[in-house]
Symmetry: C2
Subunit: 350 residues, 2 copies
């Protein structure tokens, strides 16, 4: 049982982060924000996959102004990602951004930050203090490690924001190195109760980055740390969203559509389990309700091994057993494996 | 820093598991073991990817006998996966199997097990007690949870093997449910010092199963638990091996070829970072030495953000900066991005 850390609850537009709220899945668009149509389309696409908050890059005034139209045409809260120039934060807020991400590594003039905080407070827009191991502000005191430097940078920024009477704060402490990231989050939880945004930065392409992110984010979530997650992949943001849900589902922290249990196959299997599992997976994409479906390669072992599943098939030579909660309900011929299993899935859901 | 649990060290053929040995990567063939040529080819293929031990299914005598020829033509230790019929274990040992996997859920007659143990001891072949949440023996005493039932089943089998003066034991406690799996391993470490084989069973297709396995195996490894891992995917075993290494690399537990650090790209990027990262990744497949290579989308931020990398490129409009350990060494035109980076990689490695 995971016991979640008690964090302060904040609202980012319509989304609640922290407190008792479910862990929120977020992503970031990869389109040029100034290309309003492309950005709207990408946001709609990932919202359809379950993305609950989206961040957009704001490299200039035109991008900041684009947020107005983007918000009018999309439904999930939008965070403006600001670097270097605090005035872009002011413009993004004016355009209706639901929140900001600031990096203390590249905007650290207290007067500039005060102007941003004033505008954010007026609009009740939260600010994420987005620490990145690779772009830290100079250390204000000696640090024994990068993770300590990251934590100190976050705490100093928290102090500054609090001194400006602002507490709509979210914190992230990202590094490419997984142990460094974990260490930083583990330390900060004893020092603040603001909600935490988790991520492994620059994790790479899907095949490697999803694994790296799952290890880092998974370890923290299992320790009860984290209120919102963003998987960073050099891939379409859809992949970030589906990977985020896989991480959360694996720890029973969120439900999100079907779960496919499938055996790895071995020299014992008498049918091509991998192809069958792929076909079942493709068919399950049409289903949005949570259901556990199993595809197993042993007709004797299968139903028992997958008794966790709501519905499943255990395949033997030429025939398969359709089962529900570990009990065989029907035997079907090989040509009917896929159809019979999908019929049972639909049957189970109605 | 991960402090590994002290475990007993055992030898599986030429591989050492437990003690101070690096965490061993293993997989399982998906060919029909009786198809000797296909099985040999698959073993060679995954050994080339870094697989250090391979398991083969032994559903009948012909499969058990096939092990002789398979061993003659391959170089990594071979474990025979035995279910239901203890005589197949005897035949597999006679054919030269380097170790056995027995499932107490389907072979539990003490006299049969004694015969297997006698033969294994003669050959100094270890036995993995492979507990699976879905095929447990009946509980010998009331259990409060599945994980407790799993642990008890393993401990009873350990006791039986020890009573037969056998201690070449390895234990696994696999479930599809990640929290159940973690709980079982966390409990058994206080009760035994035998080396542990980690895995999440029936984890599914690559895209979901790799994430689920990374979360479960990653959490345990981070706690110092685990001496060998097998990622179970409904996919080619090559994917199991590469995923296993990604998990180990993300926690700095093993080195294995290059690591690609790449930014997820965003509306700030002025080149197609995802395509470039994919091309770099494809080129890095030819390199077996460990090197960290970064592909970044900001020419200003990139070199600093990726100063962990040995070599990298930070891309701006029409030009990119090649850097080493965070320091820019050269600026190149867009058409030369890939070649210049790969040249710097080769340069770094010589």
């Amino acid at each position: 049982m995971i016991i979640r850390r008690r964090s302060k609850s904040i609202k980012v537009g319509t989304a609640t982060i922290g407190g008792d709220a479910p862990i929120v899945v977020q992503s970031m668009t990869k389109t040029d924000t100034r290309d309003i149509r492309a950005t709207i389309n990408q946001i709609k696409e990932i919202a359809d996959c379950g993305c609950e908050i989206v961040r957009v890059a704001v490299p200039d005034s035109e991008a900041a102004r684009a947020i107005t139209t983007i918000k009018e045409n999309t439904s999930i809260p939008i965070i403006a990602d600001i670097h270097f120039d605090y005035r872009l934060a002011l413009e993004a807020l004016k355009s209706g951004a639901d929140g900001l991400r600031l990096n203390p590594g590249n905007i650290n003039d207290p007067e500039q930050i005060a102007k941003v905080v004033l505008a954010a407070r007026e609009r009740q827009a939260p600010i994420r203090i987005g620490i990145n191991a690779g772009s830290l502000p100079p250390p204000s005191k000696p640090c024994a490690s990068i993770s300590e430097h990251m934590v100190n940078a976050a705490l100093e920024q928290i102090e500054l924001l609090e001194s400006l009477d602002f507490d709509l704060i979210k914190v992230s402490l990202k590094a490419f190195d997984v142990p460094t990231t974990i260490e930083a989050y583990r330390v900060i939880v004893s020092k603040t109760s603001y909600p935490l945004h988790l991520g492994i930065t620059e994790a790479g392409l899907f095949r490697t980055g999803a694994v790296r992110s799952a290890v880092g984010i998974g370890i923290l979530l299992y320790e009860g740390i984290g209120d919102t997650i963003r998987v960073s992949l050099s891939a379409h943001p859809r992949e970030e969203v589906t990977t985020a849900y896989e991480i959360l589902k694996s720890l029973d922290l969120r439900q999100h559509g079907p779960i496919l249990i499938s055996c790895p196959s071995c020299g014992r299997a008498e049918v091509d389990i991998i192809s069958l599992a792929e076909s079942v997976d493709a068919n399950l994409k049409e289903i949005s309700k949570p259901i556990k479906v199993a595809v197993m390669g042993c007709i004797v072992n299968g139903p028992g091994e997958a008794k966790d599943a709501d519905v499943g098939i255990a395949c033997g030579k030429g025939k398969g057993a359709i089962f529900r909660k570990g009990k065989v309900v029907r035997t079907v011929a090989k040509k009917d494996f896929l159809d019979a299993l999908m019929a049972e899935v639909k049957n189970f859901l109605t």
